[in-house]
Assembly symmetry: D4
Homo-oligomer: 247 residues x 8
């Protein structure tokens, strides 16, 4: 396969014209499906292949993109899939892993782990599970080991404290909570690892679909907390993976 | 002194006319200073005398109101005092108690306690102290015993846990915190007493002058938390007093 | 049943090892159902057993949790139940009390009252009734006596004034109102008891699903008002119970 | 003085050309001071002359505008005056009325009243006085009679009730309140007159400089309330005058 | 029928005891339907009978309230009716007027007009029509004459200018607009009558369901504008009626 | 057809009375359909005929307006059409162009182009396509040439850079993006043409239906960016057309 | 001076190595002052040189940047200058133009005009003048002719209408308004040119420092309006210049 | 020094009583200064000693805390120092490093680096420098190597692209930007390292003191971005350090 380096070398060697070089470079990174341009060079550039974001795409579009990636030998990972898209992918790709709670589909993925240890996913309540599962599936696709610690909300502090020993052995901690989002601060005060906080839309009234938790996490009195978007389990997992890979 | 009951009795006994009765009732509850109508019947009605809210009043106005109350034998309590008002009150009333951090002035007050035990004031950080002090002064004016537990923010959970034994003996707990306000949830998960949460304007950026803490406290995952306005140490203490008195 | 104290005593007596003690303590407080960790020690810790929050849980999950609690001899109380969950609980537990307006289910509950008197639930309008009913059911589950005063909005002040005599005899007042939420201020100016204000999502346009009422209640010009989340009848009742219990 | 009618008549009578007519019409309504175009035809058009809004103008600019109006025989009314502007106007115009609390200056004004009765200005607290005074001065400039009822906040309901008899005789009621703004709802439930509500920036924390009161007033459960901008005493008074004039 | 005056007279004449008088007074103003307390004295107090707000009430509840009012000889007016409630009222009350666009039902109403002239309802666009119709029906129920001027948005200023002659003859103007709500300012600059502005939820994106229009109207650069809640055609009409009646 | 000029000339020539002239002028610009006043003079006044905004109108209303315009020889363009309205227009007008993604219908349109070159529509992602298509259809209706550059989000910068050569030849650039809306800033830093930014509602959580993108675009660090409402492809295209026409 | 083209040509001709070419390209576009990197290639790239944004820079920094630009023969334009920076620039550069109201400084600038005609700057009130002046100075620096139409707010519509003839001859219209921002909609309904709306922070209370105007302008019912940031006179003028240049 | 382990061992060995053990544990982690409880065990617990947050503390308090830490052999790091506090620390501690732009003071610090490589701090503009400097000082205190890349805003993309080669070698990237915050998305699309985004309060108008940038960063279309609070350079650096340490 051509790379930026090979094209530039060809150009310097006068094998191709300046114009041809420009055109080759332009086409290099993109598979054009009309409605979508797959960023084929993303893995080379940022270390991870493009992920299919299922929201706002038809099942047919998702399948088309997945096939385009798979046919070029890429691993496929899709998130926020509606039921029909999930079913369609399952039907078309043998050996893929569909997760209905997480609403994800994975085919292939990274082999070697970034982290020697594991990524801890700690959640406040039962209702945060879909976000946790999205994070867990993402981590596994990118080759990281994940351990989940569900329902550790601070209203019953002992539920967290009895797990904190294991949690503090993780390379990275993902803290998932809705309502007042206090979990992130409490966890970050107890571990050395970086904490990625995910506010969830769990709650009602003045929780504003996750804003209360988001603000709480942005204002954490504990150090070492950074925050991703509401319900963005994928984003948190990706960050955790980037951290593991950063070594 | 005339009371509503005595006026109605006089009216029934035909000692006074209907019109006179109406006029007496109207005048009963108010001392009119022109700029301010002192609610002289508030103590009879709600169990606590009127408190002078110093914000937006000149030192002279505050003094005039204080004198009007004191001259009728009432106890004086003023909050949110600017420096000059505080000084003026100190100069005019011997034996009063001025608190510069709390910005309060007290002269006299309740004798008998509502609570057998005490009200715990727990705060997250050093900067929350003015709000705590306002609460403490208010409680003392209303005859309640207060104990303060400063700087117990959840980033160093052991600071709270080492005090929680004593805190859980309180009749009421006032939890004071800025930033993400997680203290209220953690405390409420550990005690049986009602928790009154006071968000403070301590913080910066996306804390929005206390809104992040206020929202967190409104959305507490722990039961038994109710919330007063940002920096409203007086309000929280008044509620605690009302609870103590409620028995 | 083992308690924290009995475990520590055993440890001191060298009946169990340090490691075994740690494990016992960790397991003590929690019944683990996979998706949910029931906080079994909450009653010991905070004085009230765990309540099932039905929102975001399937009927089957709710039933499973209810059975786990009931099988250990605990009283069951569930809120925010969808119709199918309510029906399933009714079918599985004889002698339980289902309330379709409140969307609650109760089985068993506290026997002895905290308050000698009663908790007054005062509401502004007919549409606030589901929130009031949730509060009333919660109070009864926790053993408190509740009296309801519906449709006392300040637009027709006499409707409130004709009831205020009885309301002012309550130990605690819960004021429930949407729209501009003025009820809380007016009530708090007329009674000695602590007032817990519940903003409701009743209203339209610039009421923002209860925010206008919430802000009004946070800024009450009357003393003794604290606020819980929008539509949080359960939370207000829990606070009232904690106050009654506080004596 | 030329009027629109006289110009059109001249044009029809062919005394002036089409172009000249257009120019005359354009110049008719405006006195151009460079920085400001005085809307000289406003009184003819909307029934009230232009008022000088002092905020964001220098004392010199305010004086220049005032002179331009006065020199054409108009009555002068200026609001939101800074101290220097107020002093400058006082010095330059004999017989004018300066009000330091209201921050207004008036010279001349309407002679005949719109309302047979009076406009009631009811306020919640002492700190609302500047807004009330601005309203009162405005009403007097426009020839209306105003009566003020200060410090009638709903926390001490009897303070309002003892005045409500007189208030209910007014043609229009202006209700001025900060904090939770409940006064407007309570008043509107007790009188037949239209109620114009003015939220004030009095308060702190979650009152957001008057927004809490504004929202409460917009969502009033009582009928007959309309709202003007925060602290807009002038605007409320102008509306009241328009109502009086409407007969 | 008993009135407050007759009861007090009986009491003074010792025909009834103090306790009986208190009870009578309390019952005087209210018809209690369990879920709803009809404010039967509202007409005496504020000049207009209670209106049934249909939102959040079942068709059966609405009918019950309507019958309770009608059976006491009152006129019935209901707003925000769902289709089934509208149909039920039509079926039960002969001679009533149902308006499907306005979602109102009227039976009887005021006979004599408040205004000699009329109330102008001016709207910006076709989509504002339901709000206008609600206003028009309300005005007619209260005996006022209404004239509608639809689709006069400022994007085509001549559409407004060609009607402004007639509009400026109105006693009161109701300006109804969504989007940027500029109509209120332009109209208020052209007429002498008081202008009541109704922001509507017409618009999309950054119009926030009517907030953009509401803010624009609150900040009108023209004098004489007061504002009611978003889509509150009833409220605006009620205010207009109160103004007409104020003479 | 009569025009403003012809009417004025007739009046000057005394062919028509003053009153008749006024009436003619008033009727000139408007076709009144009862629910809608078509702004028939808009093309003369602003250079573009009135466009039918389909949201909030029934299919029948849309058709009626379209027929009224078409019968007077005007070109028809409708946006935000629901499916039934789109179908009805297609059925009634032969030769029209319906676009289901854009939800537009066009019949006729401008012949001569404003821009010599073209308008570039650059979008961040696949989900922004409906907004882009609305813009493209609008441009074509107004006679402008449009070129689309889809899926050029800044997460894969090369996708934009490989197209930037062509984009920078455009007369105007429309940048369409949801989420963080960074595309507008990056494009504006690379081209000389004016950039009209369209925030879209694509995103979730703290994107608030397009507000995050809107704010980002308002605060662009690059010069030459102006912004239209969220999802307002039509508005951006209209602005681009006005720019092209401005020469 | 070296250009991107000359460097690439040298590289192709093997005059310089690949590494040297990369370095040269990197240095090409930037003058590095340590604290600031002047974007020296911006004029080549976007058609306009870099402008010094004075806010948040010391007078000394501003001077240093200005000198760096001037010494390379560039024209200097600085905005948002504090008084000391303005004075320092005046003292150091002869022949420059300082504008204290606009808070800008210009030295040199474009010679040839983009627009044949002119850019109209229309403002609502006197207080909007600094924003207008910033726009005017910017236009002149970029070689465009500007005409100002001050104080044309819609409360006195004739002030706008008497100028609209001239305004409608402009190539581009900049509409500047605070408060409710209605001016933009009214102007856009009357002219063919593109309208760039600038909300200003003029106003108080619920105007929120310009947000009310910004929202109104985003939601304009008139076509052809795009919006720049609050008080961003420079940005609007830059957009207008880009439009003029676009031909 | 006593540790938790040594105390528990003593207890098990019956050297100390249960009560004495509890007391020792409680005192272990805290140095109590009255106003402040220094979290002396934080380094053991979270890997980094307590940092003095200077905002809201007097110079004297800051000095007292610094002395308490230093006297126990700890390294001192203080942020958000006012001028007087900075001067006082400089005067009292020889060999410390004061940074006036960053407003930090450091004495001692970590010796061994967490990251083999370095942390890149990339900023959009000159005005973001104080935030960058706070981050850089923090990193150095914690032993990490930092490299700064200032003034790389996306309006001049080449400024970023010419540095991206070096930036992409970093272990972690901190992206600092105000206004629209697009820098974070563009950088994250070009590097493999995790990106910590810091919104700054640089901007005006609708940037809302950093909210626009914060929202943009939360909604980044690029993967691997997590966000800290506005202007929180310290927090971002701490997270970067935690990541480096995580290996």
């Amino acid at each position: 396969m051509e790379t930026l380096e090979s094209i530039l070398a060809d150009f310097k060697a006068r094998k191709i014209t300046e114009k041809a070089a420009a055109k080759k470079i332009a086409e290099l990174g993109t598979i054009d499906l009309g409605h979508t341009k797959i960023d084929a060079s993303r893995r080379a550039r940022t270390g991870a292949g493009e992920v299919i974001y299922g929201a706002g795409k038809t099942a047919a579009q998702v399948l088309e993109i997945a096939k385009a990636i798979a046919s070029r030998g890429g691993a496929v990972f899709a998130t926020r899939l509606k039921k029909d898209a999930l079913a369609l992918l399952e039907k078309n790709f043998e050996g893929g892993r569909a997760n209905e709670i997480a609403r994800t589909f994975a085919l292939g993925g990274e082999k070697k782990r970034g982290c020697k240890k594991f990524v801890a996913i700690v959640s406040a309540g039962t209702s945060d599970m879909p976000v946790c599962e999205e994070a867990r599936e993402t981590l596994e696709f990118f080759g990281e080991r994940a351990e989940c610690f569900y329902d550790c909300g601070v209203a019953g502090l002992h539920r967290l404290l009895e797990k904190i020993g294991r949690i503090s052995e993780a390379s990275v901690v993902i803290a998932v909570a809705g309502m007042e989002g206090a979990l992130a601060s409490v966890v970050a005060g107890l571990v050395k690892a970086p904490v990625i906080a995910v506010p969830t839309s769990v709650g009602y009234g003045a929780s504003f679909g996750g804003i209360a938790a988001l603000l709480a996490m942005m204002n954490s009195c504990a150090n070492g907390v950074s925050v991703v978007n509401i319900d963005n389990g994928f984003g948190a997992a990706y960050c955790a993976h980037a951290i593991c890979r950063a070594k």
